[in-house]
Structure formats: structure tokens, C-alpha cells
């Protein structure tokens, strides 16, 4: 009985995966990335799949140019290519902006670092080094002892209070993809909301973070 159910759910999952194209998935990733205050996990397989498709289409377009296919058809494919390119570029650029903004915060935590792609990790690292060097040379070296740390205001600070961090308790607009059921929004369980499929909500990002990561909810 249980194996039959497993088959059923596996088939449903496969159908759902087939129903959404890679572009659709990338668009979702782009939207979530745009709306979430912190950096999300980088989906390397997805991005490389989209890159492959872009390359394939570019080659096809070159062939079209030589074999004299109808201009209209060529221009339509070109539009499709441009749209996909735009989406990919916008997604990557958005992530770089976020990394630049929170580089010190990201560099501190292994969990956050692991969300970046290898190139992004390199970028974050060299960016942080340059920033530290710059601050050191231009300002910090001229300040008295005790006030010369990049990350802390003074020696008396008990934590890193000069590192910009994303505001995780900001409100976000989101849309549920499936019924989540009663969902607890705070630690003590006072606020419970019933998340129904395809509904819009305004919620604190912190409370639905897990749902965004597991893909049960989309930010908009």
C-alpha cells in the first residue's frame, strides 16, 4: 500500500517538474531573490541548464542565418533568447549586489557562504579583502587604539556592530503554492495563520523563511 502511494506521489512530483520549464524555475528564483532581504541558495544545476539552453539557441540562430530561414521566425527566436538572457543576467546581478552589500556578514557565516556559487564566493572574498584594506589605509590606521577595528565601533563593543546585516523581520508579500495548513508565525505559538493554496499574504520574512527555502511559498 505504502509503495503504491509512493509511486503516486513520485509521479505527481515528476509531472509538476515537467510542467514547469527551467525558465519558469529561474523566474521563480529571480523573484524570490528580489523580494527576500537575505541571499538565498544558488541553484547551480538550474543555472547551468539555462546556460546550456541559451548556448544551444545561439548556435541554432547562427545556423538559421546561414540557411535562410524566414526573418519572422528568426526574430521570434531572438526575442525568446533575449528574454532568457535578461532573466539570467538580472538574477546574477541581483545576487552580486546583495553580496556587495552584506559581504562582511556573509563572510562570517559558513551557512551563508555555502549558499553562494564558487564564483560568488571568490567575489565575496576578494571584495571583503579590498574593502578592509581600503578602510584600513584611509581611515582606521589614523584612529587611536581601540577604535581601529573594521567590524566593531570600539573595544567596548561586545559584538560586531559595524557590519551591515539584512533585516530579516521585514514584511514581505508572498503567495502560497499549496495548502500549508495552520502555520505558527512566532516562537511561542500565539500567532497561527492558516495558509491556503494560491492566497496572498503579507508576513514577516523571518517567520516564513523555512517555507521559502523548501519551495512551498513564493515571494512576490
Amino acid at each position: 500500500m505504502s509503495s503504491w502511494e509512493d509511486d503516486d506521489s513520485a509521479a505527481a512530483a515528476a509531472a509538476a517538474a515537467a510542467a514547469s520549464t527551467d525558465v519558469e524555475l529561474l523566474k521563480r528564483a529571480w523573484r524570490n531573490e528580489k523580494a527576500s532581504p537575505e541571499i538565498l541558495r544558488f541553484d547551480s544545476p538550474l543555472v547551468s541548464r539555462v546556460r546550456e539552453q541559451i548556448q544551444l539557441l545561439e548556435e541554432t540562430l547562427d545556423d538559421f542565418g546561414e540557411s535562410g530561414v524566414d526573418d519572422l521566425v528568426v526574430s521570434l527566436y531572438q526575442m525568446d533568447l533575449d528574454r532568457t538572457l535578461f532573466l539570467l543576467r538580472s538574477y546574477l546581478r541581483l545576487r552580486l549586489q546583495k553580496i556587495e552589500k552584506y559581504m562582511m556578514h556573509i563572510s562570517k557565516s559558513e551557512d551563508l557562504l555555502s549558499r553562494l556559487s564558487q564564483q560568488e564566493q571568490r567575489f565575496a572574498k576578494s571584495c571583503t579583502e579590498m574593502m578592509e584594506k581600503h578602510l584600513e589605509q584611509s581611515v582606521l590606521s589614523k584612529l587611536p587604539y581601540g577604535y581601529d577595528s573594521v567590524t566593531r565601533q570600539s573595544l567596548s563593543s561586545t559584538e560586531d556592530d559595524m557590519v551591515p546585516e539584512p533585516q530579516l523581520d521585514t514584511f514581505v508579500f508572498c503567495k502560497t503554492k499549496s495548502d500549508v495548513g495552520a502555520f505558527q508565525l512566532d516562537d511561542i505559538g500565539e500567532e497561527v495563520v492558516d495558509l491556503v493554496a494560491d492566497d496572498l499574504y503579507v508576513l514577516r520574512y523571518k517567520s516564513i523563511k523555512g517555507l521559502v527555502e523548501s519551495g512551498q511559498i513564493d515571494l512576490i
Binding site: V73, R83, T84, L200
Partner: protein, 156 residues
């Protein structure tokens, strides 16, 4: 759209919202023959004259601009349907009526590029604007209820 410290990172610009809306599917009636298009965003066609076909809005607009098709007005964009929606929106201050998520952008694109395919275009446009005003007002009053203690607001 989230309220963050850096608006440039988080807010979808009108052109980005339009970009997303351009992927909505509409029905066109082509007047040319064309092979199927196997695109990155999906497979469409083949197209035959006078036979309706479903394509994303951007593709429909591209064909329309070249005079290769007419775009069928979506079911919800008729005077009858929109009048019903507007009345219902006005009657129930707490609820929203079902409309496509990007109804504003879709209708704008259709008005800009396929005005001649829409019957009673003038009326449809003013109905959509009225619906938009009523809805925005509802959203604003909804958001006013957010306070420090609020954890969730349901929008629809």
C-alpha cells in the same frame, strides 16, 4: 515589493512587472502558416490561418505588430464580466474578486498593441481603471491595520 532598507534591490520596477506579465498565455488567431516554435520558454504552434492557438503575450504582441494575427480578448476582459466584478468589488469591502494576477499589465499591453481586437475598448479600459481604484483603496486600508504586533495580513 518587500519593505526593505534598500528599495533598489527589492522593488519590482514597472518594466520588470510587465516582463513577468508578458509570459501570461493568451489566445491568438494567426493569418499565416508557421512551423512550431520550440523555444526555451516552451513549445508553441504549429500555426495555421484562422485556427486559434495559445501563446505567451509577448509572442502575441510581436506577431500582432507585424500584422500576422489578431489577439482574442481574454474572457475576463469583457464589459459584462468586468461590470460584474466591479459591482462585487464595491459590495464586499473585505474581499477581492477573481482576476488574473497581472490584470493591469495584461490589459495595458493589449490596449497599447491590440486595441482594434478589443470590443468596447473604451468602456473596458474605464472599467479596469475603476476596479483598480477600488482594489487599491482596499489594499491601503488593509495595510493600515499593520502594527508592531501584527504578524500576518491576508490579502485575498
Amino acid at each position: 515589493m518587500a519593505g526593505q532598507s534598500d528599495p533598489h534591490l527589492s522593488i519590482f520596477s514597472p518594466s520588470e512587472v510587465e516582463f513577468v506579465a508578458e509570459d501570461e498565455i493568451v489566445e491568438i488567431v494567426p493569418n499565416i502558416r508557421m512551423e512550431a516554435l520550440n523555444m526555451i520558454c516552451g513549445d508553441f504552434g504549429p500555426f495555421f490561418p484562422q485556427i486559434a492557438s495559445k501563446v505567451p503575450l509577448w509572442l502575441a504582441v510581436a506577431l500582432k505588430k507585424r500584422g500576422k494575427c489578431t489577439i482574442r480578448t481574454p474572457d475576463w476582459m469583457t464589459v459584462d464580466r468586468l461590470t460584474q466584478v466591479l459591482d462585487a468589488e464595491r459590495e464586499s469591502p473585505k474581499e477581492f474578486q477573481p482576476l488574473p494576477f497581472h490584470y493591469i499589465e495584461i490589459s495595458k499591453l493589449l490596449f497599447d498593441h491590440a486595441r482594434d481586437d478589443i470590443s468596447d475598448a473604451y468602456l473596458v479600459r474605464s472599467l479596469i481603471e475603476d476596479i483598480r481604484d477600488v482594489r487599491f483603496h482596499k489594499v491601503e486600508t488593509g495595510l493600515e491595520t499593520i502594527s508592531g504586533r501584527t504578524h500576518a495580513v491576508k490579502c485575498m
